[in-house]
Amino acid sequence: MLQAPGRIMREHFGIKTSGEQYVIALAGNPNVGKSTVFNTLTGLHQHTGNWPGKTVDNAQGKYSYKDKSFLLVDLPGTYSLLAHTVEEEIARDFICFGQPDATIVVLDATSLERNLNLAMQVMEITSNVIICVNLIDEARKKKLKIDFKELEKELGVPIIPTAARNGEGLKELQKAVYTMAVEKVIASPKQVVYSEEVEKAIKILMPKVEALGLARIVNPKWLALRLLDSDVSFIKTISRYATTQTQQMVAHKEQGREFTL
């Protein structure tokens, strides 16, 4: 039986998918209603609470849409993926190495500017991004007007307005996840353009980074950026995951299974 390396990496995170199941990650700043989105979609009653760091380890739940099964992974709330806390590390490692079929980034409609920082970081790691602008009921109360069409054009990823508390917009969210995960309609997220010096440095690093052959597990530009950042913790993490993957592939080969690389 042929097994995609992505699935093996997921087992590493304690994610077991049964048969044809799509893995969807749920990311976002603290206190934007991620767990409410999670509970409403899965029908579970994971504890929601108004304090930071509630979802420390990842929580999982299932839902079905159009006869397909989706495994939703609720990640801890973070402002960033540049990993300086345990929560950020969990979220980053899962988005990076867990290879979800889609990542939903939940944003607070009343504080879009700060929330977009995380969205842009996720969009640098993966193209399979759906942005869910939650708490639109709060935004309406504050008389905020958001031009979702324009935002979608600017960012290059599907934008779904929701008020998860009342279930508003969740059907549309499920539909967007289906389109991306099942029909493989991939978005083309807008990338951050750095200063001339940084972009030049990335260009110099790219051939060497690509020669490492890690493109399957991590986006080479993201890796080049972390190298420039001298993010030692990330370099350690990636060498750990790369070793794990190689070992597992060897083990599977010994069992007579084949891999297509």
Binding site: Y79, S80, H84, E113, N117
Partner: protein, 79 residues
């Protein structure tokens, strides 16, 4: 422009200022940027712990508490 920039830690209760420059280095700098404190961001001092530390600031509709030793490394100007 031309106004004198002062450390954020010297802001009095109720005063509002705009970030000019961050002298914070390393991981804390990254974290402060991630929380949306960047040049031009408006901060209001809204509270101080009994011992004077930490200090609470209103940033983009969110209350963030900073140690005064860290707030000292954020230069602001009054608006």
């Amino acid at each position: 422009m031309g106004k004198l920039s002062i450390p954020l830690s010297t802001l009095k209760l109720g005063q509002t200022s705009s970030v000019v420059h961050l002298e914070v280095k390393g991981l804390l700098r990254r974290r402060i940027l991630d929380m949306g404190i960047v040049p031009g961001t408006i901060l209001t001092c809204i509270g101080r712990a009994p011992a004077g530390d930490p200090i609470a600031y209103l940033v983009r509709d969110t209350v963030i508490a900073l140690r005064s030793e860290d707030a000292r490394l954020i230069n602001v100007e009054q608006v």
